[in-house]
Amino acid sequence: MKHVNCLLAVLFVVLSATAPALAHRVNLFAYAGGGTIFTESYFPDGRPVEGGNVLVYDSTDKLLLEGVTDTEGFFNFEIPKIDALKIVIDATMGHKNSFTLKKGEVEAGK
């Protein structure tokens, strides 16, 4: 029983340490320019999402590429396809959000 309590306490501490991220939604914003798609991922208070997985899908939901956000929450990549692109940020503990760039916006950023 004592061990279980200890374990619960440890678990609580571990969970608490990551709590700020858990308490907030994550967001991703993207825009295209000069042949590149720029993305930034952030919490509502402006803090960057570091080390979040970014997944890029085309309009048929086919995964085109993926990457990881840097310390500023940025992940940039060359335009992979002139299509509507759904860009997903997948942070820890299943905190996910997505941003869709319309085909016209991608094309305008060639």
Binding site: R25, N27, F29, Y31, E40, Y42, P44, D45, G46, N97, F99, T100
Partner: protein
């Protein structure tokens, strides 16, 4: 007794007529954007209207081109004065139209956008003074809730203590009144509902003058609060007398400076 009743009735009738002809009209600078929260599914082009009005009664006043109009985003100010175009507006009971100003602004990045206006001084003969209302409104974009509490650095401004978007009807709005960056103790704040709020189907008809303009006083730190009872745009106008004067017809005249802040509320449903 009978004649006295008539006399009282006459006085009351006269009072009513006077009350109708001369309601206590509060002037408000207004900066009204077409959206308060821009998401990826929204139109990213905001229309922003700059006016000088009586918000509850709906009357417009003639507004010359402002001295200053811009937007603050990420701590950086962008001058938008040259993008303003004149337009005409009036309330249903006004028989002529008056100038206001409008612009379209493209939201390109996440974060808070605070639009601010410094109007040209407005000469108000009825009050024998000039009026200058420094006016602000904040629009949030793409979920980054950063910037709304930053100072713009106007001579007089309201700093929101309540995040000024995503507000439900009935929420308390709290702000601080600053003059040259310092709190104004016991500042008087006038509050009005914008009856021409888009989508407002129930026009508010105030049953008596005090209902037109709500009045609260700030505390010693210049902090005030008001709970907004209806969905739509609400204007908060803190007033003060300037320590400078302007000349009208060769005479020195006082200047009423105001700090106005606009917020949008939505019914919880």
């Amino acid at each position: 007794m009978h004649s006295r009743t008539i006399a009282v009735s006459s006085i009351m009738a006269a009072f009513l007529i006077l009350a109708i002809v001369h309601p206590a009209l509060a002037h408000f600078g207004a900066v009204i954007p077409s959206d308060d929260i821009v998401t990826q599914d929204d139109d990213k082009t905001l229309n922003v209207q700059v006016k000088f009005i009586h918000p509850m009664e709906g009357q417009y006043m003639e507004m010359v081109k402002p001295k200053q109009f811009g937007v603050q985003h990420n701590g950086k100010k962008t001058n938008l004065l040259d993008t303003l175009a004149p337009a005409k507006g009036k309330s249903p009971d006004q028989d002529q139209s008056f100038t206001f100003w409008t612009t379209d602004y493209q939201i390109r990045r996440p974060g808070d956008y605070t639009f601010y206006v410094e109007p040209a001084p407005y000469w108000e003969p009825a009050e024998d003074l000039f009026i200058v209302h420094y006016t602000k409104v904040c629009v949030n974009a793409f979920g980054m809730e950063e910037g709304w509490d930053q100072h713009v650095g106007l001579e007089m401004e309201v700093i929101p203590f309540t995040r000024p978007y995503g507000l439900w009807t009935g929420n308390l709005f709290t702000g601080q009144v600053l003059l040259k960056g310092k709190p104004v103790p016991f500042a008087e704040v006038e509050i009005e509902y914008l009856n021409e709020t888009p989508g407002n189907i129930n026009i508010v008809l105030p049953p008596a003058d005090p209902y037109v303009t709500q009045v609260v006083k700030a505390d010693v730190n210049g902090v005030f609060s008001y709970a907004m009872p209806k969905a739509g745009w609400w204007g908060f106008s803190a007033l003060n007398e300037a320590d400078w004067t302007l000349t009208h017809d060769g005479q020195e005249k006082g200047v009423e400076i105001g700090a106005v802040y606009w917020v949008w509320t939505r019914d919880m449903k």
